[in-house]
């Protein structure tokens, strides 16, 4: 159990390091080493730690714990093949955790990061379109049923490509340096993470690692189906590299433009699901 968690966190951080490296290479920079993110996590955990004077202490500490807790739970859910609805619920609730990070310290930068994270809630809506479309095909939302369906009918990636694109975009909006990453844009210092330093920041790193791992793994499980574990890891890395390419070549959007584009994508997806619902027996 615990070994899965540690592995997932470490591998997720490694993927994030890869992400930075690929972006740097695309942009003709040398970039940091691939394990830079793991080093970061360790470095922060050695640093001196306290709680800011103005912070709302319980919330300030609590969100870190909650953040690690929900993503650990998400990992177990994916591994056990439980309902993807729970997974997506946790994904949406991550928003609230980000918000808690931003607001609890009293820092103006953190606050703006938190507010932006709230504005970008539109990015989650494509998820529900994904859910609805999958439900139309399988009649179940349990991950093991979805895997079983794919074992019979082939991967969803080929059955319903637009749905896969929707989820791809959702993952994209969660990655740093992407077009929709308005919460972490550099005019806000480090966005909602600004005031969480030391051990707290190490906790955030664990969260990020787990989150990246879980989302990519879920993508593989939902759209590719049952593959050996090593193959899943390879596919995840490939997907991540493709995401990094997108991040590297697109500009960051302004907050409300990002919301609008995500809303439009949702509308398109909704139309697609409506079409599916119409043609399905």
């Amino acid at each position: 159990m615990i070994e899965y968690l540690v592995f997932a966190a470490a591998f997720g951080l490694l993927l994030l390091g890869l992400h930075r490296k690929v972006i740097a290479r695309v942009q003709m920079r040398p970039g940091p080493p691939v394990w830079q993110e793991i080093l970061h996590a360790l470095k922060f955990s050695f640093k001196s730690t306290w709680i800011p004077k103005t912070a709302s202490a319980a919330l300030y500490v609590g969100v870190v714990l909650v953040g690690i807790g929900i993503w650990s739970a998400a990992l177990f859910i994916v591994l056990a093949g439980e309902s993807i609805l729970i997974l997506f619920a946790i994904y949406m609730l991550h928003k609230v955790v980000e918000h808690g990070f931003g607001l609890s310290s009293g820092s103006p930068y953190g606050k703006f990061g938190g507010v932006r994270s709230v504005i970008s809630a539109a990015s989650e809506i494509p998820l529900f379109v994904t859910i609805a479309a999958i439900y139309l095909f399988t009649g179940s939302l349990l991950l093991r049923d979805i895997t079983a369906y794919q074992a019979v009918h082939g991967p969803f990636l080929l059955i319903a490509p637009p749905v896969a694109i929707a989820m791809y975009l959702v993952i994209l909006s969660k990655l740093p340096y992407g077009p929709f990453s308005i919460v972490e844009s550099k005019e806000l210092v480090s966005g909602y993470k600004t005031e969480h330093f030391g051990v707290w920041r190490a906790g955030i790193s664990v969260i990020d690692g787990l989150k990246t791992f879980v989302l990519l793994y879920a993508f593989v499980a939902i759209f590719v189906g049952a593959v050996p574990f090593w193959a899943a890891l390879v596919i995840m890395a490939v997907i991540l590299v493709s995401l990094s390419f997108v991040c590297a070549i697109t500009p960051m959007l302004s907050p409300f433009d990002s919301v609008t584009i995500q809303g439009l994508i949702t509308g398109l997806m909704l139309a697609y699901v409506g079409y599916l619902w119409w043609v399905m027996p």
């Binding site: 159990m1 615990i2 968690l5 922060f44 955990s45 050695f46 640093k47 001196s48 730690t49 306290w50 709680i51 800011p52 004077k53 103005t54 912070a55 500490v61 870190v64 714990l65 909650v66 953040g67 690690i68 807790g69 650990s72 739970a73 177990f76 056990a80 310290s105 009293g106 820092s107 103006p108 930068y109 953190g110 210092v189 600004t194 005031e195 030391g198 051990v199 707290w200 190490a202 906790g203 664990v206």
Partner: protein, 67 residues
């Protein structure tokens, strides 16, 4: 927080995780119970571990408000 509290917390969370792991291996408790225990204990473990080996804490300060 005092060093002792941190050590205790670290020990407690580690114990919970190990106990859950062992009990699951011995089939004493169902999978979901072990998972719940670990989900609760793991965040505490991460934070306490960091606090346990960290450098001494600094003075309380106001947030960062600009360069």
């Amino acid at each position: 927080m005092k060093r002792k509290t941190v050590s205790l917390g670290l020990a407690a969370s580690a114990t919970v995780i190990v106990a859950a792991w062992a009990a699951l291996a011995a089939a004493l408790i169902p999978l979901w119970a072990a998972e719940t225990a670990i989900v609760i204990a793991f965040p505490a473990l991460v934070i306490f571990l960091g606090l346990w080996w960290r450098a001494p804490g600094g003075e309380e300060d106001i947030p960062f408000i600009g360069y």
